[in-house]
Amino acid sequence: MRILVVGGGCGGTILANNLARRLASEIRNRKVRITMLSASDKHMYQPGLLYVAFGQMMPDELYRDQESLLEPCIDFHVDPVEEFHLDQNKVKTKSGKTHEYDTLIIATGSRIVPEEVPGLTEGSETFYSEASAVKMFKRLREFEGGKVAIVVGVPHKCPIAPVEITFALHDYFKARGIRDKVHIKYHYPIGRIHTIENVAIWAKPEFDRIGVEYETLFNVKEVDVENQIVKSEEGTETEYDLLISIPPHRGMEVIEKDKLGAGGWIPTDRYQLTMEGHDNVYVLGDTTNLPVSKTGSAAHFEAEVVAENISSIIKIGAPVREYDGKVYCFIEAGHDRATYAMFNYQNPPNLKSPNKSMHWFKMSYNKMYWTSVRGLL
């Protein structure tokens, strides 16, 4: 049995390690082989970018060598897939190699596409990559006051990021003693300030309390960089001195090119996590088309379900679990308080008031991630 994992990020790594432990004896007896193909020899802890943007973490703290995170029996190659041939159960890689499989897991994540919004790349700061987060920090340091606008592209990973960045900006300018010189305006695509109703209900009075203005039903259409104006699809506009964006996302180009899913989002069964029409192909994390938050947390819980099912199919011939849509997100409510949202397909999150201990739990999790991704937590 040849198991091929494409993508060595959050979901792919948890899945591969979990599977390697469940199938340790089958791997020893050479009945099962696990191969992982990824695009990088480094693994990035992406949530850390939020802290890099405020000078609270250094970029080098975000990385580990991917191989060091994997069970030694996993055959790991930095050789990204360039062609998927699902009808022939094989993929072709950048180096020209062909890998055949019996079971395929696709966990290639998502990418930012700010270029889809004219002016967004040149006109805004963001924190969705290492370089942009460092650049944003330097820009924030130089900022002495004026109008800050926050805009949100659709779809985007980490749906909590828009509110987190807003609270963090407030605390940052306050700590620098210039909050009274900064006007913060938050823009959100739908008719309330967060898509999760209970997050919106909690965050609205918090925004009022800290003096953050908000405009809803604002889908960013273009940025007039010269005149420093951001315009919405809905016909409104906002002037800014500093524009912060959560860029829109797509899945990886290879997913679109090989027609696995429009926009790079692969049609996925919401309970079994198999690709529609392909029972031996599983899809994890950001690249699914599921109506589930694009978060490391969703990728983690999905990976556990898929690992358990692939292993049980090998051992007893049937899957044993379904994914229930579970997501657990920390919500940083500034630089020293946090809360969390836990929900699934059926149950909405019930938000608690932010407190210092949740913030310190999140700070610890920033380190514990490396244990979690090894599949030990």
Binding site: I190, L217, P248
Partner: protein, 76 residues
Amino acid sequence: MSECKTIDARDTFCPGPLMELITYMKQANVGDTLELLSTDKGTASDVPEWIKKVGHEMVSSEKVGEVWHLTVRKTK
């Protein structure tokens, strides 16, 4: 040629039905029709509000059992 696509946004709290619709709207071509399925009670008012403000066309809205079926057309 215009297409009709169904978006299954039943039982989702995040990203939620309207966010899902906006995602698929961006991928659609002018003239395409999208049918949104939702179990969220707010959808019946949230979606028409956005469609009106942004300037697309609301084709129909009906509740079948526990599921809202909202059909919209991309006009620009």
